[in-house]
Subunit: 218 residues, 2 copies
């Protein structure tokens, strides 16, 4: 698939060297993230809601209960801005102003459309489960017809998208490099912690390998 | 300080038991987070940008280079929605549809105003640095007059705000509890990884204790 074409909205004005329109970079960030922030306009005002998502080829899927406010506003084909941000480190400079963060983010602009076809909808729900935990879908009870009907799935074409990436050490003013301050990067990562069994878990049921070895940065 | 009053925008329609208007809960989430997502309307369309922030009492501060697109759009006093999300775990149910995430999020609505007073501006910049790494401000070169002039600082009153929190095990349909599937929560956390020294760091300079013992969940 070809890369994205910059548009006035996705063209970086400042620090353009941090921007990229490469589809592979965008896809990799989307596939590592767990939560996106969906922006939309409701009654003339901006609203930003965190939610899960999944990618399938050149589409991003969002979902929610039909009764949810976000879904009832978006269902009709609203314009959205969907942003995914991965935080990789704190950038510690010698001056306060040059402190920064290392991160990878994707911003997507577009209009969502509701997925009505039951098989595309089921496939999207499979992608949601597999996006969070690869291997999970095959083990769990699939959605019932009633669950499918009660869920709104929205599709957003990855067309007007861009990534922004900062890596590496701080960039200090030349005269500040002599200051006696520790400078560098404190790496941050999201890691899997304890597995907490459901209090109602059947006796002796052990967690599967895909949970014991869970990691996101693959 | 008193808690927040629900407004039509901050009143949860679905799962209202997850919502809270307690100022202490909101403040704690804001103080633990590192990145917020700022939503605003530009040329009629929604835009969501990840950025750093800091809190001081009942105000949230945002900042950026004067030349940045976001700052030039917001500077005039634009309406924003600022959202901070902390991801605490993956909630693994016995059915696909009941999968969820444990999280803590804050959504703030309001209009920003530009901070012009130099001492409030400097104090806000101190808060940014201290928000990321407590103890850092005292060690680094403070902002120069030129840096102060080149930075836009925006203030947002914490007035129309709410938090949403999900904790605990999955909630499955009663008949699914007998399914032979491991269910529970996989905890996630953001942790400090390696300290990577700047290649131009002075010989023998050791990282301070506040970096070696860095953690966010205090």
């Amino acid at each position: 698939m070809t890369d994205f074409n910059p548009t006035p909205r996705t063209t970086l004005r400042r620090l353009p060297q941090r921007g990229t329109y490469e589809r592979e970079v965008v896809n990799r960030i989307l596939d590592e993230g767990l939560v996106c922030h969906v922006g939309f306009v409701h009654e003339g005002l901006p609203v930003v809601i965190p939610t899960a998502y999944a990618r399938a080829d050149d589409r991003l899927y969002l979902h929610g209960a039909k009764a949810s406010r976000m879904m009832s506003v978006l269902r009709g084909g609203a314009r959205v801005c969907v942003t995914v941000t991965l935080l990789d480190g704190l950038v510690l400079a010698r001056s306060a102003s040059h402190h920064s963060m290392n991160y990878r983010s994707v911003v997507i602009f577009g209009a969502v459309s509701a997925v009505e076809d039951p098989s595309e909808k089921t496939e999207a729900l499979r992608r949601f489960t597999e996006h969070i935990i690869k291997g999970r879908w095959a083990e769990v009870r699939p959605p019932s017809k009633a669950e499918l009907n009660g869920t709104t799935v929205l599709s957003l074409l990855l067309e007007e998208a861009s990534a922004k990436v900062r890596t590496g050490p701080p960039l200090d003013d030349e005269e500040d490099y002599q200051l006696p301050v520790w400078a560098g990067v404190l790496r941050l990562k999201t890691v899997a912690g304890d597995l907490v069994a459901d209090p109602r878990l059947q006796d002796g049921k052990e967690p599967p390998a895909y949970l014991r070895q869970y990691r996101r940065d693959l």
